[in-house]
Each structure stands twice: as structure tokens, then as C-alpha cells.
């Protein structure tokens, strides 16, 4: 267990090399991939998230930690693929049609991945059809939509409605971005709204609570 705490700590320190070394060491010592992921890697990002919430860490530091976590994730991915049926949750994310802004969305995507979600980033100016296709193909749990321009909010509404109707409300939707409000989110029947990346992680956890991870 000590080893896992060390992994978490090295993520907090943003040391990619150390994370990789310690992850490989843990694998050699026979620690299960699930434990490494849940306790070591995600545990590390949870520490990071807490400190960020308290104002003790800043975004550049958080992103370096996310990168460090990612190097550990890459090491255990091959083993994980054999064991797990489904990850914590599968998320499609993108900026809606007509909008090219993506800095905030990228931060959200990194935090979601850092917290154990499998994230597929479709980029910017994404059509409703593209979101829908990806959600169905990847068997996504959540589709996350981002927008900065007020004039692209109708596109967000259209995408949410399409996802709701075409997936029989099984795929959840999360919306965010500067002009987006909780009122708008409920008006368009999105599953939820988050004001920032940390909020997005918390909400994603809530929305995927009922997903059961089974092993074959």
C-alpha cells in the first residue's frame, strides 16, 4: 500500500518519470491494475483536485500532475484492458457547432481523464451527428458539450435533444462554458451543468454512479 501512496504523491509532485517508475514497480510486485488505478493514480488526482479546490494548486500545476498521472495510466492500460469490462465511465466531449473555443474544454477533458474516465475529445465545431455517432459507437455514458459564444447555444440545445431522443435518455449530457447557466441547462433538458473542471468531475461521478464495473 505504501507503494500506492508514493504513486499518489509523485502525481501531486507532477513527476512523470517517477510515476512511471513506481507504477512499473507496483506491477512487478503483483499489485492489481485496479488498485494501482483507483488508489495510486486516481487517488493522486483526487489529492490534486482537493488542493486545487482549496487554492493551493494552480492550473499549470494541475495539468502537469494530470500528465504525470497519464504516464502511469499508459503503463497499466494493457493490463486494465484484459481485466475490466467497462472503465469508470466513457465520456464524449466537444465544443458545439459554430464555436472554435477549446481551452476550457481541454482542461475539463484532462481532469476527467485524470479521474479515471475514458475520454474521447471530438474537438471543436462539432456537429450534432458527430456527437451522436461517437456516443453510440463508443457506448458512451456521458456527452459533454462546451460553448463560449451565445450564438451557438441553439446548437447545444439541438445536440442535447438529439441525444435524449435518439438514445432514449440512456446517454447523459453535461453542458458548460461561459454563457451557459444552470437555468439554460435545465431548459434544454441536459442531465447537468458544471461551472468548472472540478464541478465537471464531481458531476460525472454522480451521473455514472449506477454504472457497474463487472469482470468477465
Amino acid at each position: 500500500m505504501n507503494g500506492l501512496a508514493d504513486i499518489s504523491l509523485s502525481i501531486l509532485q507532477g513527476d512523470s518519470n517517477l510515476v512511471l517508475t513506481l507504477t512499473n514497480k507496483a506491477i512487478e510486485q503483483g499489485v492489481t491494475a485496479n488498485d494501482i488505478l483507483a488508489t495510486g493514480l486516481i487517488g493522486g488526482m483526487e489529492l490534486v483536485g482537493d488542493k486545487w479546490k482549496k487554492g493551493e494548486l494552480f492550473i499549470p500545476e494541475v495539468l502537469i500532475s494530470a500528465k504525470a498521472m497519464h504516464s502511469g495510466l499508459v503503463a497499466i492500460r494493457p493490463i486494465l484492458a484484459k481485466g475490466l469490462d467497462r472503465p469508470k465511465g466513457r465520456i464524449i466531449i466537444g465544443t458545439v457547432k459554430g464555436d472554435l473555443h477549446d481551452i476550457g474544454k481541454k482542461i475539463v477533458a484532462m481532469m476527467l481523464e485524470g479521474n479515471g474516465f475514458e475520454v474521447y475529445d471530438l474537438g471543436v465545431n462539432v456537429e450534432t451527428e458527430q456527437f451522436l455517432e461517437a456516443a453510440i459507437k463508443k457506448e458512451a455514458d456521458i456527452v459533454c458539450l462546451s460553448a463560449l459564444l451565445t450564438t451557438t447555444l441553439p446548437a447545444m440545445e439541438e445536440t442535447v435533444q438529439a441525444i435524449n431522443s435518439k438514445t432514449g435518455n440512456t446517454v447523459k449530457t453535461m453542458v458548460g462554458g461561459a454563457p451557459v447557466t444552470p437555468e439554460f441547462a435545465s431548459k434544454i433538458n441536459a442531465s447537468g451543468y458544471a461551472p468548472d473542471a472540478i464541478g465537471a468531475v464531481d458531476l460525472a461521478k454522480q451521473l455514472t454512479e449506477r454504472v457497474v464495473i463487472s469482470t468477465k
Binding site: F58, L100, I103, I107, T150, T151, P179, A197
Partner: protein, 480 residues
């Protein structure tokens, strides 16, 4: 008589030396020539290619420095904007400074209920009415967004509301070339034709770079259309230091300056001599919240520096005034808006937008426009400077009054007080007792009362019925 007597007429504020400005200018030339800017608009690529620029993979345009120099030379060093009646009122040249509100806020605070809500067309009309009245606000920018009500036609209706409710020059946006054409037709209708409009433009087109170094196709198409008509264009980045531009101040300046110069070159290639305004909204990303901050002191520093850099090449510059990160018109809003007004003036930027902006352009406040108007009055007084001559040195009067005398009933005081002392319309200088007697109102309450009074009493000059009918047709797409 006097000889060789040098006067400093206004207050002076310098951030950069000549040499530092030259370094930043050269760094921007390097960015334009070596790093490149990306643009996908076919017409723009053709213009650049034909001029001798290098187009690399991914539509990366690299502009040799001599082409930038040529473009700067043909860009007008002055833009004169008229009012709606064709009278020339804003002389965007040298270090003249004029001021305007912001635009595109999705929400507003209702001045009667205090409710945070969506905009309707009458609200934009009210902003125009307010601006029409306020002496220190020189141009109108719509403050709010009608996107909820009109979708992508919102800019037509915002323009329409502004056109009908103030004679002051209009800064305007457009969604694409279709609604842009409608807006220009409306302006030409009021001006009496495109030729008249070109000679005395009462409008300035506004668009933004997508930092870093990317120029959206629709934006470029719009700019080229405006340039084709010979009408003025304003283009620059809303940048976020640490996210879409470097974390270091000089890097933000070099990149943003290069981005604005890119637009300048393109517009000059399209139509030589098109009036062009360099611009910047130099935000930082707050690296804790991940949000854009305009209230940051770096914002003020950067816009003064940017103005100095643009003055170096003599091109008119637009910066910002009166913006705040605060969610309400409170102390934070007052502080940030004031510093922003000050930095707009201190850099001598020719025009600035922003008054009324809360939560960094997400909530519009009419009260904050009146606060900005008041603050600008104070700032103008400071920058008006000290006049030193026989009358103002007042030695004769000082002698007359002598020890233990007073100046109150002196002719000198009577003759000079109206020009020497600024008069507040919002700042309260009553003693405590009188302040209580007048209702012990806060600045916020007084600003709100002033807004309501102006909306209820002020009557802006109306357009002719014929013009209004024609605008009705154009705005609703029924006029061909």
C-alpha cells in the same frame, strides 16, 4: 515675451521606452515572418500569395517583413467617425481618446427590478438612449446580446436599436457576410448612400482574432466585405495570458501585436487605404479559476503598453475601459472599472470599449455605464493637466487676498471655477447630515436613479419616418 518655453499640456504616463517598443515591434515581425498565422479563407490566402507571402502546410501564412512595412505605410494614420447626421465627431488620431460601452453580454441587470435576465430589443434601445445622453461616452456598442430572441439575426436588431436611439457613432458586430450586408445597407440608407457613408462613416466594424495566431474564415470574410466598401475595420485579439498567449507580458504584446498586424496587412492587400484600427483585449487566464480576468492589473499594464506600441507606427488603436470581473456593481466593480478607464486614457488609446461590463462581458449593467461616465470625467480632468500662465499663477490675486483672506468672492474665482474644477454628477460631497437628509444613498443607488431618470426623460433625436420605415423593411428582410 518668452523664448524656448516648453509646455507639457496633459498628464503623461509611460510604460515602455523607444528601444523596448522597437524590440517588441521586431519580435512581432519575426512572428509574422517565421512563426506564421493560420487562416483558411480562400480569398485571404490568394491575396497573401499574390503579394509574395509564403503559404505553408495547414494554411500557415508567413509574411515577409517588407510587406508588413508597406502595409503600415498605406494604412491611414487617422480615422474620422461621424455621427448619424454626417457631422465629423470622433478624431481617432494622435492620442485623442474616446470611449464606448461593451457588447454581447448574454445577461443584464434590469434597472427597475434588479433581476438578472436575458436582453430584449428595448433594452438595447435603452442603452443607446443612455449613451446618447452621457457626455463622456462618445460612441455606442450594444452592451447586450439579442441572440436569445433573434438567433443569428441578433446583430441586425442590435444595430437597428442603436441606429434609432442615438446619433453617436456605432461600433457593430455581425454574424456572417449575409447579416453584415443588411447592416451596411441600413447604414447606407441613413447616410444617403454608400458614397456618403464612405466619406463620413458613422460606424466601425468590430471583430476578434482567435488567439493564438488563428483567423476564423467567417471573420475574415466579413472584414474583407467591409474593406471592399472602404469602411473602417477594428481587429485584434481577446487574449488570455497563460492560456492563449504567453505568460510573460512582453510575449503577450508581441503575439497580440503580430495578430493585429496580420489583419492590417490583409485589409490593405484587399483595398489599399482602408481605415484600420489595431486593437487588444489583453486578459489573463486566472490560473486558479481558469476564467478570463480583465480586472487583473496586468490587463491595465498591457493595454497601456499596446497603445504605446501602436502609436509608434501611428496607427489608431482601440483598447478597453470600464470592465470588471465582479458579478455585481459593487466595490470590486468600481475599482476595476476605474483602473481600466484610467489605463485606456493613460495609453492615449484612441477609442476604448467596455463600460457596463460585469463578469467580464457576461452581464451588462447600465449603472456601470453611468459610473464609467463619471470616472471618465474625473480622468479627463486629470489628463487635462495644469495650465501655467499669468492668469493661472494668480500672483495678483494672491497679493490681493493676502494672509488670512479668502478667494471665494474674488472675480478671479468667479471667472475660472467652471473650467478649473470638475463637477460631479454621481460622486457625493455633501456633509453627513445632508447626506442622511437626502436619503443616505450609496453610489450604486445614485447610479441606478440616474439611469432611470435618463431613460424616462431623455429624448434622442429621431430618424425621419421614411428612414424608419425603410429600416423596418431591411431589418426584417422584407426590403429588397
Amino acid at each position: 515675451m518668452k523664448a524656448d518655453f516648453i509646455v507639457q499640456q496633459t498628464a503623461s504616463f509611460r510604460v515602455l521606452s523607444e528601444d523596448q517598443i522597437k524590440e517588441i515591434h521586431n519580435a512581432a515581425l519575426e512572428i509574422l515572418e517565421h512563426v506564421g498565422n493560420q487562416v483558411e479563407c480562400e480569398e485571404a490566402l490568394d491575396l497573401f500569395r499574390d503579394a509574395g507571402c509564403l503559404i505553408e502546410h495547414d494554411n500557415l501564412v508567413k509574411i515577409p517583413s517588407y510587406i508588413v512595412d508597406k502595409a503600415i505605410r498605406t494604412t491611414p494614420k487617422r480615422i474620422v467617425l461621424s455621427n448619424r447626421n454626417g457631422k465629423r465627431v470622433l478624431f481617432l488620431e494622435g492620442k485623442n481618446s474616446y470611449f464606448a460601452p461593451t457588447a454581447a453580454c448574454p445577461k443584464m441587470y434590469d434597472p427597475y427590478t434588479g433581476e438578472k435576465r436575458d436582453w430584449v430589443k428595448q433594452d438595447i434601445a435603452n442603452v443607446a438612449k443612455l449613451v446618447d445622453y452621457l457626455p463622456n461616452i462618445d460612441a455606442i456598442f450594444p452592451l447586450g446580446s439579442l441572440a436569445t430572441e433573434y438567433g443569428t439575426d441578433c446583430f441586425i436588431h442590435e444595430f437597428d436599436a442603436m441606429l434609432r436611439n442615438t446619433t453617436k457613432p456605432i461600433i457593430y458586430l455581425a454574424h456572417d457576410t449575409k447579416d453584415l450586408q443588411v447592416i451596411l445597407d441600413m447604414a447606407a440608407e441613413v447616410a444617403g448612400g454608400y458614397e456618403a457613408l464612405r466619406q463620413n462613416p458613422f460606424l466601425l466594424f468590430y471583430d476578434e482574432v482567435l488567439a493564438p495566431l488563428y483567423h476564423k474564415t467567417e471573420t475574415i470574410k466579413k472584414m474583407l466585405l467591409v474593406a471592399e466598401k472602404g469602411l473602417p475595420v477594428r481587429y485584434g485579439s481577446l487574449t488570455m495570458s497563460g492560456a492563449s498567449s504567453p505568460c510573460t507580458m512582453a510575449g503577450v504584446l508581441a503575439q497580440s501585436y503580430a495578430e493585429a498586424l496580420f489583419g492590417l496587412v490583409l485589409v490593405q492587400l484587399k483595398r489599399r487605404g482602408t481605415p484600420y484600427m489595431m486593437a487588444i483585449l489583453p486578459g489573463i487566464m486566472d490560473l486558479l479559476t481558469g476564467g478570463l480576468s480583465s480586472g487583473a492589473p496586468e490587463y491595465d499594464l498591457l493595454q497601456i503598453a499596446f497603445a504605446e506600441i501602436c502609436h509608434n507606427i501611428g496607427i489608431p488603436i482601440m483598447s478597453t475601459n470600464g470592465i470588471s470581473d465582479s458579478k455585481i456593481a459593487d466595490e470590486q466593480a468600481a475599482i476595476e472599472a476605474t483602473l481600466c478607464c484610467f489605463s485606456a486614457a493613460a495609453g492615449g488609446s484612441n477609442l476604448s470599449i467596455g463600460a457596463g461590463s460585469l463578469e467580464c462581458h457576461l452581464i451588462g449593467s447600465l449603472e456601470m455605464i453611468t459610473v464609467a461616465d463619471e470616472v471618465l470625467g474625473m480622468i479627463k480632468r486629470i489628463f487635462k493637466g495644469v495650465n501655467v500662465d499669468e492668469n493661472s499663477l494668480a500672483i495678483e490675486v494672491i497679493e490681493q487676498v493676502g494672509p488670512r483672506g479668502n478667494y471665494l468672492d474674488q472675480t478671479h474665482t468667479l471667472q475660472n471655477f467652471k473650467t478649473e474644477h470638475w463637477r460631479p454628477t454621481l460622486m457625493d460631497r455633501n456633509n453627513y447630515s445632508n447626506w442622511i437628509g437626502m436619503g443616505s444613498k450609496t453610489m450604486g443607488q445614485r447610479a441606478n436613479e440616474k439611469v432611470r431618470r435618463i431613460l424616462e426623460e431623455h429624448q434622442p433625436e429621431q430618424l425621419s419616418e421614411q428612414s424608419q420605415k425603410r429600416l423596418d423593411q431591411l431589418a426584417t428582410g422584407n426590403g429588397v
